[in-house]
């Protein structure tokens, strides 16, 4: 219905956008960026300054936190703090990789489905529906179990879990963008469908996926840890955070073993959340739908 077509549009001539709405937003975005860069720096430079080696026995067994061992030591006398820092090398690349792959697959399939419709859409969306009907962890567990443990296989499992979300998102976006007049305009000048998809549809559909990807990064970090916690992720002795928590869970009264990796997950997940929120603001996309 074009009921509104005759209404003059509100010319929102606001100042050029560059920063975030509220001080809170600014604080969170800065916090997000700081923490993320902290982990990035840690990840890259760690080998040069880490207090200990992640696999070496140092100090005594299950020592409580002290100045020598900020977060104590574990049962094999390894420094928990050092291991937690090294954990970033496991978790972060995997999480980013999962999201990149999921977004790529989701974008390709979702945009094909949304743009061409017909049987392509049916097939893709059925696949999406079926995959989404599995609670993610069941699916990841099943896939990881089928492929065997290991971070690599957990990686595949998580990509399988995540791509449909993006496929659905992108498809929705593509369908929305598809009805914009500039697509019709592109058709009317005789552009091919590929060109339209590439130049006119995808660039406009991608923003929400990007924002979602940032927000989801935190969730992937958590799922990675979860799979490791269930024994389906990283193999020992790698200092993966979830695996460290599993170790720690056995030493319930030696609480420090599990605390540091938990905090690491928290900071990473939260900062990605902040970044995603900030990005959403910066790119000015509605939170909804």
């Amino acid at each position: 219905m074009s009921l509104l077509s005759t209404a003059p549009r509100l010319l929102v001539d606001v100042a050029p956008r560059s920063t975030w709405k509220s001080p809170w937003k600014r604080v969170t975005v800065i916090a997000g960026m700081t923490v993320t860069s902290f982990w990035l720096v840690v990840l890259i430079t760690l080998s040069w300054w880490a207090p200990y080696k992640p696999l070496d026995a140092v100090g005594g067994r299950l020592q409580a936190p002290s100045w020598h061992h900020l977060f104590g030591t574990d049962a094999l006398s390894r420094d928990v703090f050092t291991r937690t820092l090294y954990g970033a090398r496991q978790t972060l690349p995997v999480s980013v990789g999962v999201i990149v792959c999921a977004v790529t697959i989701g974008t390709v399939l979702g945009s094909l489905a949304g743009f061409f419709g017909g049987w392509i859409e049916s097939v893709v969306m059925r696949l999406v529906d079926v995959t989404l009907a599995f609670p993610p962890i069941f699916l990841a567990m099943a896939v990881a179990a089928a492929l065997g443990p290991g971070l690599q296989n957990a990686f595949f499992a998580m990509v399988i879990v995540w791509w449909p979300i993006y496929a659905r998102l992108i498809r929705g976006q593509v369908q929305a963008v598809k009805h914009r007049d500039h697509i019709q305009a592109a058709v009317s000048i005789g552009a091919t469908r590929w060109r339209i998809l590439r130049k006119h549809v995808l660039p406009l559909s991608f923003t929400p996926a990007l924002i979602n990807a940032t927000l989801d990064l935190g969730q992937v970090v958590i799922l990675t840890a979860t799979l490791s916690f269930l024994g389906l992720g990283a193999k020992p002795p790698s200092p993966e955070w979830g695996a460290m928590i599993t170790d720690g869970a056995q030493f319930f009264y030696q609480w420090w073993v599990a605390v540091a990796p938990g905090i690491a997950i928290l900071t990473v997940a939260m900062s990605f959340n902040f970044l995603g929120d900030g990005l959403r603001d910066a790119l000015d996309v509605r939170a909804k739908r």
Binding site: Q184, A186, G190
Partner: protein, 330 residues
């Protein structure tokens, strides 16, 4: 100006029908059909401006889109310069598109926000095989033509006002030097003070370039300034077609008359003394149109015949057609 020549008109539309499947809600699966355009026929000669007017939802845009085959018509024929458009393959159609272009109503959604104005205007050329240099030169030329200035090329749409954006849209439509441009309410989204600029630009283009226009509007006063002939649509059908001056001075269809009388005139002295025909009710929905004459439910002249027999569109004077059993001339 009107072409009454022997040669065939540029565009010949016959019995155009377009149906949409509408789903009532997401979880009920049965669909109903909605006939947005139900058997529309008209001609446009080369260089002629034909206006389609009518209330919201009467099928104007759909008609235009079907003519340009931006939507597939359900049935009917559209001949463009002797070529049956509805039968072209997609490849042929893409080539044929050079000759007919479209300008859209909403200057905000009709431009790709991620492309510069230069790219937008140059894209038609690119698609049809021009090289970069040609494209650049032509884009600059076109931007001058729509009075934007060539330096606009490097900027993005959001940096322009509505009127300026609409000029970009027009420049894009002109890029391939088409023979026909369909304009879907090109000024209705614009502020009054800016409307005039676009109307002037269009008038200018019409006279300078000799293009045929299919001009869609709901505002009768705008149409009057731009078109040679006017077709009035009501609920998917054309109820009256006539030369502009004829239609405004002597409307034959009660609906046309009501439409004219409802349009306010910005002059208090005149406006207060006008005799108005105020129609009752709203236009019915195309999902379930009235039998016989579709206007009869709101027509003050309707009789029982109107409910039974659909009035055909007949010539009542040279070039003046009306679809009414009891037209105002009789």
């Amino acid at each position: 100006m009107t072409s009454t020549s022997i040669e065939a008109p540029l565009v010949q539309v016959r019995d155009l029908v377009k149906e949409f499947e509408v789903r009532r809600s997401s979880w009920r699966t049965q669909a109903t059909t909605l006939q947005a355009v139900s058997g529309v026929s008209f001609d446009i000669s080369a260089g002629e401006a034909l206006a389609l007017v009518g209330e919201s939802g009467c099928g104007k845009s759909t008609t235009a889109r079907c003519v340009l085959r931006l939507t597939e018509p359900t049935s009917g024929s559209v001949r463009f310069d002797g070529v049956e458009l509805t039968e072209l393959s997609s490849g042929e159609l893409r080539k044929a598109r050079k000759r007919f272009q479209m300008v859209f109503q909403d200057p905000y959604t009709s431009l790709n926000p991620r492309m510069t104005v230069g790219e937008i205007v140059g894209e038609p050329l690119l698609v049809h095989g021009a090289n970069a240099a040609e494209q650049l030169a032509r884009a600059a030329e076109l931007l001058e033509q729509v009075q934007l200035g060539a330096d606009a090329a490097d900027r993005y749409p959001h940096q322009f006002s509505g009127g300026q954006r609409q000029r970009v849209g027009i420049a894009r439509a002109l890029a391939l030097s088409p023979d026909l441009i369909a304009l879907d309410e090109p000024v209705s989204a614009l502020d009054v003070s800016i409307q005039a600029e676009i109307i002037r630009l269009l008038q200018h283009l019409r006279d300078e370039l000799g293009l045929a226009f299919l001009f869609i509007a709901h505002d009768l006063s705008v149409v009057r300034h731009l078109s040679h002939r006017v077709a009035v649509m009501y609920l998917g059908k054309i109820v009256e077609v006539a030369r502009t001056a004829d239609l405004y001075s002597r409307p034959a269809h009660p609906y046309t008359k009501a439409l004219l009388s409802a349009a306010p005139i910005p002059d208090p002295l005149i406006e207060r003394d006008r005799v108005r025909i105020v129609l009752t009710g709203d236009p019915p929905t195309p999902v379930n149109p009235p039998s016989g004459c579709r206007f009869r439910t709101r027509c003050w002249r309707a009789e029982s015949l109107c409910a039974e027999v659909e009035p055909p569109l007949i010539d009542i004077a040279e070039g003046h057609k009306v679809a009414c059993h009891f037209n105002l001339w009789s």
